[in-house]
């Protein structure tokens, strides 16, 4: 049985070009050393003073940042800077690592996702994730896309399920390529197709936020271009947080960029501003390729 709070969480706002009015959120001005404005006017997710520890080692140090509706937020930084760790906090994937320990507050539309009453299953249905290495299930293309709707009971009958599957494959730009081989294994597709299948699988449950952890790092440039196009397309309906190693990619796909360094969130700002006029020396050094 769902309790009331979970029932509220389940009810996702209608997807449209117009962002739904967010529930009243008490804006809590974060205590942070980050340069640039970390808050947005209408956040879908807010994180405040988040620390992450792996055992005794601190991986994320006092990070506060908002995620807006219908935007792509890119997180960049050198290897080991904690951007993936932070991303994985947003849908509590760090729960699977036993030594990981998260403090601070992360809210999805005003509800604390680390609250005891929040069900992690519901949370992950609303905050989907695409991983670095394409990881389609070793099942058919159809089963991959149908998996989420199936476990969450989103389709009442077969034809509804078919519709959801077709729809999500369409939106992932994969339908024309796979419509004749829906019953073939998803692992038999090319790398780029596999990654788009993973995106289709993710949007089949109609999440609010999609987290992408270096989704193109295992792909060739053409497949990468397709995914980037897709990300831009998906922004109309979803909020997207993308971790990337490629600064060009961040510049191409995102509206806002956050620069991480050794567990600290150094600088946040409009992507155009960050890339042309970084405020912090560290950011500038990274962007100009002095280290990385």
């Amino acid at each position: 049985m769902l309790n009331q709070k979970q029932a509220v969480l389940l009810e996702s706002p209608a997807k449209s070009n117009e962002p739904a009015p967010p529930p009243p959120v008490k804006i809590h001005e974060p205590d942070t050393k980050t340069v640039g404005r970390v808050t947005v006017d209408k956040p879908i997710m807010t994180t405040r003073e988040v620390d992450v520890y792996y055992g005794d080692k601190q991986a994320i140090n006092n990070v506060s940042i908002d995620i807006s509706y219908n935007e792509v937020l890119s997180m960049i930084g050198p290897s080991g800077c904690g951007k993936s760790t932070f991303l994985r906090c947003l849908n509590r994937m760090n729960d699977t690592i036993e030594s990981a320990h998260v403090t601070g507050k992360i809210e999805l539309e005003g509800h604390d996702i680390y609250d005891k009453k929040t069900d992690v299953v519901t949370l992950r249905a609303r905050v989907g994730m695409v991983f670095q290495k394409p990881n389609p299930f070793p099942k058919s293309v159809y089963e991959n896309a149908a998996y989420g709707p199936r476990i969450h009971g989103l389709a009442r009958n077969q034809s509804e399920l078919d519709e959801i599957v077709e729809n999500s494959l369409h939106r992932a730009g994969l339908w024309d390529e796979v419509k004749d081989r829906l019953s073939q294994p998803g692992t038999g597709l090319s790398g780029g197709q596999q990654q788009r299948l993973c995106i289709a699988r993710c949007i089949a449950v109609n999440p609010d936020v999609i987290l992408m952890d270096e989704p193109c790092s295992a792909l060739d440039p053409i497949a990468t271009a397709k995914i980037e196009e897709l990300i831009d397309e998906l922004r109309r309906n979803y909020s997207i947080v993308i971790v990337t190693h490629s600064m060009q990619q961040a510049a191409r796909v995102s509206q806002r960029t956050a620069y991480f360094h050794l567990g600290d969130l150094i600088e946040v700002g409009e992507t155009s501003t960050i890339f042309t006029n970084p405020q912090v020396k560290l950011t500038e050094d990274y962007l100009t390729g002095r280290f990385g």
Binding site: T96, R124, G128, F131, K133, N135, F137, H152, C202
Partner: protein, 425 residues
């Protein structure tokens, strides 16, 4: 000072020599292993292949109504109880009319297996119209005759050292001379249970006993083993208790099997009062022995499922249980089955623990269920290896061949499963 290239040149020869040496050590080890295996197979086959044939005698039996059914009622009870031995004795007497002496007659009768009586009885009960006619019947010869024909009794030995005396050999030769004796495929060996008479003994009872025992073992150890492995691998927290359990499972896998037999004797038989010699108890004991193997193999198989699949499922909002049931378990299943089959083939070859729970009894009939007393193949081999008759030597080897055949098939199935369903990510 030498140039680097020259230094390398100088050391190359030594390096290659070491490599060659190392490779030859490996080859020698493999060769020794193969030679041992070959020796084993050759000795078993050489000893055992003759058991697949059995000497039969042709008798013209007169189904005398006066002996079988003097009143002529054809009552099944009467037909079942009639003295068919008399028919065979009469036939033998008529065949060798010169034999007058009582002792010689008894020896003459003994050329035919006691089992001949049952085959003639069976014929009559099946078709009572045979009474009053004379039929040509092939009946199994006694094991001594069989041994002589197969060359295991040496005619050149002095008479006193032979089990068959000159007279008996003469009668046998007379049978052979008239074409009334031949070696046929030994069907009895595959269809009969145990017997005191080698020519009537077969492995069927032991095979059925092994089947029921393994069935009980499989039904118990597979679900329990898989459930334990899934819990320990996927759900259990990592702490001192689970570490302790893990160490103990590994220890359990190394416990000598006879100890499980002792445990079965005291718990299943003495405390729970389950039936002695039953495949049920055998299966329980072997499950205890197989469980650690199944658990260890299943855990290894679960562990080999890549984390990306788990993350994919969890990232979709699948619960832990759904992730395991929908993704991890199907991918780990071939490995689990392989481990189970290997555990099963170990259980099939096991005899020590079964001796402790009384499966070593002499049992003629094949069991009809897991509660009937029975024996199993390896114990049957052990029993036969212990008998003095020469004819049981070849049967021991033949039964070993059958057991090895089952083991090869099972291990082959495990290898097939592993390659057929091997997943590449």
């Amino acid at each position: 000072m030498m140039k680097t290239a020259a230094k390398i040149q100088a050391s190359l020869k030594k390096r290659y020599a070491a490599e060659r040496r190392f490779r030859s050590y490996g080859l020698v080890s493999v060769a020794i292993g193969l030679a041992a295996l070959l020796l084993l197979f050759i000795s078993i086959i050489a000893n055992g292949y003759t058991a697949f044939q059995q000497t039969y005698l042709k008798l013209d039996v007169q189904f005398d109504e006066a002996i079988i059914d003097p009143k002529g009622t054809r009552d099944p009870q009467t037909l079942a109880r009639a003295d068919y031995g008399k028919l065979i004795k009469k036939t033998m007497r008529e065949r060798f009319p010169d034999v007058k002496n009582r002792r010689d007659k008894r020896k003459l009768y003994k050329l035919v297996s006691p089992g001949a009586v049952f085959s003639i009885q069976g014929m009559v009960r099946k078709d009572p119209r045979l009474i009053g006619t004379t039929q040509t019947v092939w009946v199994p010869a006694d094991d001594d005759v069989d041994m002589l024909i197969k060359g295991y009794i040496n005619r050149d030995d002095p008479e006193s050292a032979r089990r068959l005396k000159d007279k008996e050999i003469a009668w046998i030769d007379a049978f052979a001379a008239t074409g009334s004796m031949e070696k046929r495929f030994n069907k009895t060996f595959f269809t009969a249970g145990d017997s005191r008479e080698p020519e009537l003994a077969g492995i069927w009872g032991a095979v059925v006993g092994s089947f029921y025992t393994l069935l009980v073992t499989l039904v118990l150890s597979f679900p329990v083993g898989v459930a334990a492995a899934v819990y320990l691998q996927e759900f259990a927290p990592r702490n001192r208790w689970t570490d302790l359990i893990e160490v103990n499972i590994n220890n359990l896998a190394a416990v000598p099997s006879i100890v499980f037999g002792l445990l079965g004797l005291s718990v299943f038989l003495n405390f729970m009062a389950l039936p002695r010699s039953a495949p049920l108890v055998g299966g329980l004991v072997l499950s205890l022995m197989t469980l650690p193997t199944v658990i260890i193999a299943s855990r290894a198989s679960l562990q080999s499922v890549p984390p990306s699949i788990r993350e994919g499922a969890l990232g979709m909002g699948a619960s832990q249980m759904q992730m395991v049931a929908h993704h991890v378990l199907p991918l780990a299943m071939p490995g689990m089955l392989t481990g189970t089959i290997i555990g099963m083939s170990r259980a099939l070859g096991e005899s020590a623990p079964l001796l402790m729970i009384g499966m070593v009894a002499f049992i003629v009939n094949a069991p009809e269920g897991p509660l009937d007393p029975s024996t199993v193949l390896p114990v049957q081999i052990y029993l036969w290896a212990d008998t003095p008759e020469r004819a049981f030597v070849e049967r021991t080897s033949a039964a070993t061949l059958v057991l090895l055949g089952f083991l090869v098939v099972m291990n082959g199935a495990a290898v097939w499963l592993r390659t057929r369903f091997e997943q590449r990510w």
